[in-house]
Structures are given as structure tokens and as C-alpha cells.
Amino acid sequence: MRRFNYTGRRKIPERCVEVTLIAAADGALSFSLVLDLKEVLPPLPEGCALIVEAYDGSLFERFDFGAATTRMEVKGTLKSFVAPQNPLFRLKLVEASDPRGQIAAHARSIRAAAPGQEGRARSLLHVTCRRLDGEVFRVEFPSDGHDYPTLVINDVIVSNEDVGARSLAKHPAFVSLVMPQALREVLTRLLLIDHQAPPPEDDTWRGKWARFAETLVGSPLPDENNEEEILNFISKAAAAFAHRICATERFKMVVNE
């Protein structure tokens, strides 16, 4: 799909932004964000304001940290979110003078490390738990196409804690049965339903999942008009992934325990 960018808006590479969520004993959340633009070339324009927004569904908080510099470390207290919520963040460098309010650069859908989790989450599939209607899990896709797909686990199984969801997501039976299927579902959505083979420079979940699939299969994405080839490609990716995580062996172990 051809996209236009008449204002020269830039994407801030994901590696330049680090967000950490900090949970207090009473569940109150705050965040610290490190922005390092030293390696970004050509340099981003000066005189921009750094805006950070945290959001989850209709819940939304905005922070204006004033004039942006090449390297910044900022902190904020979230009033609309409590642990174990794990909101997404977007970051904007916004022109402070004419054309005031125009976005010079942005990074979207930044997933912070969850409370109690060390380091930044870099998974292509966010894991969370919520009440599901009889299903053990399901894969959900973001509405605006910028967030990552989410693996939702039924909270009846894991209690209402994201930490519990992440533990279950590492269980050998769960990993071997669910993860290859989740991968198949994401690729089916990407390549067959949405029918969007992302370009190589695409920095969204689509681009990252496409590159991941290419690595698994060892060949580039097939022709987007050849449905049979796409189905074959998805099956090869799911099989390669199952091999990589030793799905059969893990499940065999669980069955023989």
C-alpha cells in the first residue's frame, strides 16, 4: 500500500526509546522513559517539545516534558492506571513554533516492561489475561494497526494477574500447543486477511512479524496474490517455529510425566 508523508515526519527507531513501569505497593504506577537520539541520522529538528502519551482502550494520559534534547530521561506518575495494567506509550516530538503542533517525529505502541518484570519486553506477542468465553486463549489484533498482537489467556485459568499469565505462557504444554498456533494466526491475519505484505523498512508489528517469518522459513515473503503460496509459507513458518521451540518434545514430556 502506498503511503504519503508530505510533512517529512520521521519515525523514532524503537531502540532509541526505553520505557520502564514502576509499581508501588498499593498498585499505583509511574514510568521512567529514556530517549536517546544520538545515533539518529540525520539529526532530528531542534525546538521540538517531547510529548509522551500512555493509553489503554479509552484510558489516556498525556505528559508534556518541554523542549527535547538529544538525550533525555523523564519520569511521570500515572493517575488513570494501576498495576497489573500495562499501558502502551507513544512519544512525539512536536513543533513548538510554526507550524505549531506539527509532529516532527514519533514512536508508537511502545510496550514498557510490566511491573516486576526486569528489562524491557521485546516480545512480538504481548501476553495478558482477561475473562474469555470458554476459550483457553485467543489472539487479538490492535484496532489502529500500530500496537502488537496480544495473546489473551483466560483469567479463569491463571487468576487475574498478568504475572500469572506470563508464567502459564512458559508452561511446556502451553508453549508447545499454543505458540505455533498463535504464530499461524498472526501470519494468516497479516498475509491473508489484511493482505498486506509490509515493505522491508516497516517498523510496525507487521514489518517485524514479516521479517521474523522470513527468518524462520529462510526465504522472502511469497507473492501477495498467490494464496496457495502464502498458505504454504505460513505452514512452513509454523513448522519451523515448532521445531525451534522443540514443541513435540516438550509436549511428549508433559504427556509422559
Binding site: R9, S58, G101, I103, R131, D133, E140, D144, V152
Partner: protein, 236 residues
């Protein structure tokens, strides 16, 4: 009290929607609203006794007084589906003894983010919580109407949570009358300067401008000339 449909209740409601699409005279499964095998208590102190709503705004205002806003409430499928079944005569009314049933996500809250805004009870509730009276631009019309014209800006989180944007919408498309207020003539059509065009243009602007940081006047100035048809005729 307000209850929540469990898996069996959701299944029963879903089955009815399928059957009623083919035969609109089949009665809805109202009994499951209080049947412990199909539903469970959610809000013991809240009540939903009122049923006479002229427009979706009133409905949203009433729900907002009964159900407080939280992330958990926003995503509770069984809860909103129970409320939809409770109000089934209002959101899916029988005309000459037969109902016209639309897409399932209007009645059973969609699990995917993409279709949640179509729910006929949750959307009025959520918009009133977010925008109070300004939500009226998207909540005109009877309870069973979804409001296709508003779809462009309701389907995107960054737009439907934007307070300044709803102020601009209100200024553009709502006019005060002796009887209260109404949406301006032609605002819902598909031509230049209408609500559909506004949604489309704001989706583009959202990529270029920091809309959340803008004052309504600044947003107003950004609008292309095609919207003058509604700004220059405030009482159209």
C-alpha cells in the same frame, strides 16, 4: 442489580440472535437475565429500571450514572451483553411484531478492539463518560440506530478520546433549537464537509498533527474550506 452473562448465557443470547435474524418473531431469552446457570451478579447496588429514552445521549447519560468508568468495565463482555439483553426491546425493537436483528457485535460486545465501538449500550455509556454533553454529536437518534456517520471517528482510539475534537464536532454539526438540540441538516450525508468527511480527514491529520495537544480553536483552523458549509450556517 446488574448481572453478567456467563458462557452459557452468551451462547444462549448468540443462538437467539442467529434464530431471530431468520425469524424476527421469536422471543428473546429474557429468562437468562436472572437465571444463575446463565448469569452472575456483577453490580448488586446498581439498577436499570428506566426504559424510556428518546435518544442515545439520554441512554448513555443514564447508564453513566449507574455504571462507573473503568478499564475492566470497558472490556467486560458478559456485563455489556447482559445490559444489551436487558434493553433488547429498546435496542432491537419489534415493529409489527417482528424484530430486525443486525450484526452480533451490536448486542454482544466484540472481543476484538476493532468492533467494540459498535455495541449499542457500551458506546453511549463510554462517550458520555468521556465527553459528557459533547457526546451528543455521535449519540443522536433512537437507541437501535448505530450512527454510521460517526463511525470514522469512533473506530480510532486517538480520535474518540479527544475532547477538543468533540468540541469542534459539536460546534460544526449540532444546533440548539427551542425543543433542545438537533444535528444540522445534511451533516450525516456523504458530501463535502459532513461528519463522514470530518472523520476521514481527522484520521489523516492524526498522523501529521498533535491533535491531543490542540485547543478546539486550533483544530478548527486546520479544517479545509469544505467545512465552511457548516461553520458559516450555524443554524442550518
Amino acid at each position: 442489580m446488574i448481572r453478567r452473562l456467563n458462557e452459557a448465557g452468551l451462547e444462549s443470547f448468540r443462538n437467539w440472535l442467529t434464530l431471530a435474524r431468520a425469524d424476527g418473531t421469536i422471543a428473546p431469552p429474557i429468562a437468562i437475565l436472572t437465571d444463575d446457570t446463565c448469569s452472575e451478579l456483577a453490580l448488586p447496588k446498581a439498577t436499570l429500571s428506566r426504559t424510556d429514552f428518546d435518544r442515545r445521549l439520554e441512554f448513555g447519560e443514564y447508564l453513566a450514572t449507574q455504571v462507573s468508568h473503568s478499564a475492566a468495565a470497558e472490556a467486560d463482555v458478559g456485563f455489556w451483553s447482559w445490559i444489551a439483553l436487558h434493553y433488547i426491546d429498546q435496542i432491537c425493537p419489534a415493529e409489527s411484531g417482528s424484530r430486525k436483528v443486525y450484526e452480533t457485535e451490536r448486542y454482544i460486545l466484540d472481543r476484538d478492539y476493532t468492533g467494540r465501538y459498535r455495541h449499542l449500550c457500551r458506546t453511549p455509556w463510554l462517550l458520555v463518560h468521556l465527553h459528557e454533553k459533547r457526546a451528543r454529536v455521535a449519540l443522536d437518534g433512537a437507541l437501535h440506530r448505530h450512527g454510521e456517520a460517526a463511525e470514522q471517528f469512533l473506530s480510532r482510539q486517538q480520535l474518540f478520546t479527544n475532547k477538543a475534537l468533540f468540541q469542534v464536532l459539536d460546534r460544526l454539526y449540532v444546533t440548539e433549537t427551542r425543543a433542545g438540540w438537533r444535528i444540522k441538516t445534511g451533516a450525516r450525508s456523504k458530501t463535502s464537509g459532513t461528519m463522514r468527511r470530518f472523520g476521514k480527514i481527522m484520521r489523516q491529520f492524526d498522523l501529521t498533527w498533535d491533535l491531543n495537544g490542540m485547543h478546539p480553536d486550533e483544530l478548527f483552523k486546520l479544517l479545509p474550506r469544505e467545512f465552511e458549509v457548516f461553520t458559516s450556517h450555524p443554524a442550518k
